[in-house]
């Protein structure tokens, strides 16, 4: 969920940039040069996946996948998401320069949190624990993103309350779908290429 340009107040924008800078620099530290192609190719995969629209009843929503991004990339999801958002801004004019920081935080921070919450569980042998964790991972990541977007708006202006509520509400169906998709996606990876779930973030460091 992007926040458009011009909506947020200066303090929120600055806080966004500061937090994004912190996250990205930790991410960059953890990413040695050798792994740039790997992270880049996965970032492009997430960029492309975010162009997929799935139906929800009469409407549809595009995939966000920040849960699984966090799961695969750990801290590296900060630079990964930053780059993907920058390219979306440049190619489609979604979002823009000044909201790049806050948008990155709103999507990457939940990814990172989910990485710490669920990575272990997802990698469990036991099928249902692992799949349950995958579902929760997709769901919680989008939920947190919705909350962060709402908070960004509230910190800007209290009168945004009803807009913020609507946004969280709009995230609810998306949450469930992201949960389901993350579940099946993890099931797929576990069968096809489990080393990917073992994490790109820990290898080589």
């Amino acid at each position: 969920m992007h926040i458009s340009e011009g909506v947020l107040s200066a303090p929120v924008l600055v806080a966004g940039v500061a937090m994004a800078a912190a996250g990205v620099s930790v991410g960059l530290k953890k990413m040695d040069y050798e792994r740039i192609p790997q992270v880049a190719v996965l970032s492009s995969a997430f960029f492309v996946a975010s162009l997929i629209h799935v139906p929800i009843g009469p409407s549809n929503a595009h995939l966000i996948l920040n849960g699984i991004n966090g799961l695969l990339l750990g801290w590296l999801c900060f630079p990964s998401i930053l780059v993907a958002l920058a390219l979306q801004a440049l190619l489609f004019q979604f979002g823009g320069i000044t909201v790049l920081g806050i948008n990155t935080v709103n999507m990457a921070l939940p990814g990172l949190i989910c990485y710490y919450l669920f990575s272990r569980l997802v990698n469990r042998e036991r099928g249902f624990i692992s799949l349950g964790a995958a579902f929760a991972c997709g769901l919680v990541a989008v939920f947190l993103s919705g909350i962060l977007v709402a908070l960004s708006l509230l910190f800007t202006e209290e009168s945004f309350m009803s807009v913020a509520k609507l946004i969280v509400l709009a995230h609810l169906p998306v949450m469930i779908i992201e949960g389901i998709i993350t579940l099946f996606c993890v099931a797929f990876l576990k069968r096809v290429k489990p080393e990917l779930l073992g994490g790109i973030h820990e290898k080589g460091s």
Binding site: S4, E5, G6, V7, A10, L13, V24, L28, Y33, E34, I36, P37, Q38, V39, A40, V41, L42, S43, S44, A45, F47, V48, A49, L51, I52, V54, P55, G57, L63, L65, I68, L72, P79, S80, A84, A86, L87, A89, L90, L91, Q93, F94, G96, I97, T98, E157, S159, M161, V163, I180, I181, T182, L183, F184, C185, F188, L189, V192, L196, I200
Partner: protein, 252 residues
Amino acid sequence: MIEEHFSTGESFVHGLDPRIKIIVAILFSVVVAVSSSFLALIPALVVSVLLVALTRLSTRKVFYRLLLVNGLILFLWLLLPFTFKGETLFTIGPLAGTKEGIWYASRITIKCNTILLTMIALLATIPIFTLGHAMDKLYFPDKIIHLFLFTYRYIHVIFQEYHRLINAMRIRGFIPHTNLHTYRSYAYLVGMLLVKSYDRAERVHRAMLCRGFDRKYYTLSRFSIKIGDIVYLSLMLAAILGLVVLQWRLII
């Protein structure tokens, strides 16, 4: 295909040094983003329209881009006038539209469009690869630049891969509905994309090793500042300063 719609052109703006354009775009956007007074915002909007006019891009294309983004803004227009507290300006049934709400929505509309127009005029007119090289010359961290360039390079490969997979689904009669079969199929699609991407990344890294890659990237890019660049930069700095003054006076 994922296209850069605005990056090619013959205009004066397309020929400017990309470093100058990046600096101006960032400064201008930041000033607009933190401004609140219409006294500053309306001139800023005018400047951004002028900037786009200078690029001689197709008006239709630019307009189309704005239209997409203003969809969201429209949503705010439907909400803000009725949710902001303040002086009632009009009523529709039980809903009371406030002056403050309308002002706020107008402010957002102007800011959003101004920044977008600036981005189109200044950043979207730089080919992405050149943009990467220019950021390198501007001392952005080189890891982020290489990540950026690689990501852009492989977006195309993966987008094509995605397209082929989705076609493979379509020719087998796949029609998306709100059901588990649909979500599972999409999840498999995403999983397959990730796996293929991961393999590709491994092969790319090997290809780099084969050509003597040793954790250092070099670039061949060369830029040079011309008179036109200096003139443009000076004018734009003056304009930005003007906006700051307009905005600042009002704060006092």
